[in-house]
């Protein structure tokens, strides 16, 4: 088996083996309010949390690349708790891969030794990978920006422009990441292969191997194990619900609670009386306005010359046709 494939088998499985326990601890820290993650850096934190080889690179990156994961004592505690989990996960998965794929039996405290070597190598390499990847992505973005400024494609609409720019720097970034990860896996694979060379050969049937895997995962005293795991689980559930804040833990700045304005107490009888009073007032105003309008009309009629016979006839015929039309605006003119 190639060194890259071997490293992938061990590290990929080790990541997923340790992750649920680490996530559970992270959740507990968050519920207790001892850990607050930065917005985008939280993603990086969780990414680092999943790899058993990145433990030493975190303090290195915090110093070198001004990496700020968040606040709280929980972060430090979590990193310390990740050490035994990773030791167990690397040991278990590597032992399984050795027995199943390489047909060899590792000796002694092999898991702790392998974890120590991987952490040392990862401490250097993941730091370098992070810095180089950041640099390459930055160059890729500059290159994409320069390309988009060319006269030939300057008039490209915004949506297309974003897509093309993303494709350019995204491809450069992805290719460099794949290359760097492959080199990293080769280094890790070489370390694991060196450990495999020290192991003793194994000759067992598939059924025996399955039994051995099961025995590796199941403790001798199953009842004691199940009882202690259940008790720990119940205790953690109580701690979680007890520690979890009743209201939202870290309010957002846009998360303002709307001010409640108390509406005045409504008395229906008073409202109705008030309404009736307003209606009566309005009615009297309308009557007054109509009277004033009638007076004005009468004054206008007085001021007009007497209509001729022809006009009278036409007025009569108009009146016979329908109701009286309102006075034309022209007629209202002084």
């Amino acid at each position: 088996m190639s060194s890259m494939k071997l490293a992938l088998h061990v590290l990929w499985s080790a990541c997923w083996t340790g992750l649920p326990a680490k996530l559970g601890l992270a959740l507990l820290m968050m519920a207790m309010g001892s850990m607050n993650l930065e917005h985008m850096m939280g993603v990086a934190f969780l990414f680092l949390l999943t790899t058993p080889v990145s433990l030493l690179s975190v303090p290195a990156l915090q110093g070198l690349a001004d990496l700020h994961l968040g606040e709280g004592a929980g972060l430090g505690i979590l990193f310390l708790l990740c050490i035994p989990i990773d030791m167990w996960a690397v040991g278990l998965t590597a032992r399984t891969v050795f027995i199943e794929r390489l047909k060899v039996e590792p000796q002694g405290s092999f898991g702790v030794r392998l974890w120590g070597l991987l952490v040392l190598a990862g401490g250097f390499y993941v730091t370098i990978l992070w810095l180089v990847e950041g640099l390459v992505t930055g160059i890729g973005k500059d290159l994409a920006h320069w390309f988009m400024e060319l006269e030939l494609i300057k008039g490209l609409p915004v949506a297309e422009r974003i897509g093309v720019e993303l494709m350019i720097w995204g491809s450069i970034s992805t290719i460099s990441l794949v290359i760097l990860l492959s080199v990293g896996l080769k280094i890790a694979g070489a370390i694991i292969q060196r450990e495999a060379a020290k192991a003793l050969p194994l000759s067992e049937s598939y059924q025996h191997l399955v039994t051995r895997w099961d025995l590796m995962r199941i403790p001798a005293d199953q009842t004691l194990m199940l009882t202690s795991v259940t008790a720990a689980g119940v205790l953690l559930i109580f701690v979680f619900w007890g520690a979890m804040p009743v209201t939202t833990p870290h309010p957002h700045q846009d998360y303002k609670k709307p001010e409640v304005k108390v509406a005045p107490h409504v008395k229906p009888a008073d409202r109705l009386a008030k309404g009736e009073k307003v209606l009566a007032q309005v009615e009297s105003q309308v009557v007054a306005l109509e009277a004033r309008q009638a007076e004005l009309e009468a004054e206008k009629q007085k001021g007009k010359p007497k209509p001729q016979a022809k006009d009278k006839a036409s007025t009569k015929s108009d009146g016979a046709k329908g109701p009286a039309q309102p006075a034309a605006p022209q007629a209202a003119k002084p």
Binding site: L19, L27, A159, L166, T248, P249
Partner: protein
Amino acid sequence: MDTPSTTTQPSPIEKVVQFIDERIGLQKLQAKMLNEPVPGGSRWAYVFGSVLLFIFIMQAVTGVLLMFYYVPTADHAYASTQYIIHEVDYGWFLLSYHFWGSTAMVVCVFAHMSQVFLWGAYKKPREMIWLVGLALFGLVMGFGFTGYLLPWDQRAYWATTVGVEIMDKTPIVGDFMARFLKGGPTPGQMTLSRFFVIHVMILPALLMGLAGLHLFLFRKAGPAGPFRGSPEELKAKTDYFFPRQIWKDIVAMVAVFFTTACLAFWEPIVLLEEATPDPGEYHPEPEWYFLFLFQMLRLKIFSGEFGQFVAATGLPGLFMLFLAALPFIDRDPERNIFKRPLSLIGWLVVMGSILVFTVSAIINREFLE
């Protein structure tokens, strides 16, 4: 003098189990469920189906708890959601978990469909499972779309407006569907009522029915197993569902629960201003899993009435039709994805395009602001 009997008396719990077993055949059922053979042994790649069922149950539990306080009226939806966040004990956590749970469901649906596609598990005799799975995918998207309106803030209102407008472009049925969902010229009380009923009654009922059918068909056809290895090798490695696959499923469920809860703590749900027909400074956009479609509509090639129809409903509709027809088009029994280069390239192109368009839509926000 009588000698004491050596046979032990059954405990009260054993008696209850025996009582039920005699009537419904509990032990037979248990054996049938747990002793399902898994060709090639248990794998982490097979956990997505069980995880999806777990997420749905969690969504149902948190959804029911939220319904105790939520009022589905245009006047009170926003205020009751604020009340859940600010006043109800742990209400913020339940709502945030429900929100992130929907995201987890979409991610797991994509992962599950990708696994089935890459493993070639849609091929004969599993065509029916694939078709029902596609319908379930549509339902999950429907859950996301209808649930998004319920908080009745600006984001909810405008995401729905955009979504319904996209739906309106579907020929023949689009106009009817848009009018039916809106219940008026602009989203209002009728829209909220209809979305609420669809979200809490129609979709869950359909999902339960189809998920049951999906499981039944899966058990009938049996698991496909790995795409590599001779039949003899697979037979030698064949294992039962219990205990290894169940253990893997449980670990995956726990991991999903922890991740969703961490996200709820990390980014609790934030409401914008109450919904109004004036977007103000808010730039309407749908939820992240529809962002790729939204960004596609911004491309110049898809401008104009016809272009918008092609991008909004034509291409997605054709893609879904293609997926439905896939088991009947691809009749080659070869399941190894590395021996199906066209399928592998196709999957990479689709996933890459969705990723590029989604990230582009996020970058596009800077230009709007």
